[in-house]
Assembly symmetry: C2
């Protein structure tokens, strides 16, 4: 049973929802026994960018949960009616009041355990008139040596930053496609239970 379980049919209001494999399908879905509507649930896209200004990278300190107080690249859920580059620009404006020119798509990370696809673009910060939006406590430019590696909000962000600093040394930024599985348990618990 998925975390985001439906209790009522959004089409007819019935509470007679079964979580079962519909005829001709391969996976269980919420199916309404009253009106027959099949409620599909699919992964969401998180879109964002890595804004660069004179070799420094712009990071945002989160003012919201999850990961309040930790640092992230500007990113958020892609909205209906929006292209990927437009979504990356919007999130950067909302979280950092920062204007960017969106460059190539850079990291694409599948997170099957939480039904998300991260899509991060490289970007050029157009001016330094940035500052925290409503969802950020602080926004700063970081040199590689000062990146708060131990205080990053998400593994996708750490992976994107590590790739970028390595690729910058090589002078090329090929698309980095990967999958992040569930974090392994800490060593002192592995094998227990």
């Amino acid at each position: 049973m998925p975390v985001d379980a439906l209790k009522f049919c959004s089409h007819c209001g019935s509470d007679r929802l079964a979580f079962r494999v519909p005829d001709g399908d391969m996976l269980p879905r919420f199916v309404c026994a009253a009106c027959g509507t099949i409620h599909y649930q699919n992964p969401k896209v998180v879109v964002g960018c890595l804004p660069v200004w004179q070799g420094q990278v712009l990071l945002c300190k989160r003012a919201i949960e999850p990961r309040h107080g930790l640092w992230t690249l500007p990113a958020g859920f892609l909205e209906n009616g929006e292209s990927l580059p437009d979504g990356a620009m919007r999130e950067t404006l909302e979280e950092a009041n920062a204007r960017v020119r969106i460059d190539a798509l850079y990291t694409v990370i599948s997170l099957p355990q939480i039904n998300q696809i991260y899509m991060m673009f490289r970007a050029e910060l157009l001016d330094v008139g940035f500052g925290p939006g409503a969802e950020s406590l602080d926004v700063r430019l970081y040199d590689e040596a000062d990146i708060p590696w131990e205080a990053l909000a998400f593994r996708t962000i750490g992976r994107t930053l590590r790739n970028w600093f390595l690729d910058r040394k090589q002078g090329a930024f090929p698309l980095r496609l990967s999958t992040l599985e569930r974090r392994p348990p800490p060593p002192d618990l592995a094998g227990a239970g």
Copy 2:
């Protein structure tokens, strides 16, 4: 008001749903006046691949709507719990009974008007033991000269195929990122009404 309008709250069953901008948000959402639940709706990912066997491309003739009887590359909605390459492999197996090795991500196409993101991989067909799955009428390998350009199911598929044949001549397949806006009206209707 979006096409996929909610009539009842899936959390409490109330029909007191308003389509409005929640406090602190930027876009209208379905908000339940009874229990306060905000129902977010986001774009879906369509994932698939371009399977190649000895220079020929595998296409499927659709047995389902929309675009029944027209040709497509194997592709479909990414499922919860699935990585992008796994989704591309599953769709290819379901629609064409074909086994592939998934290669690089190749086209990423935003379709903001229908809230979809197409993500197509290059792929190597592993054997010729393919055949139509439940959603296909026919599955065939096509040389470039024989591609049924006038009978393709979706513009995303035509764009992916055109890019691929051009890039093959150049000997390189860079990621192709683009956005498809709504199809312009045919010339004889433009300006009418």
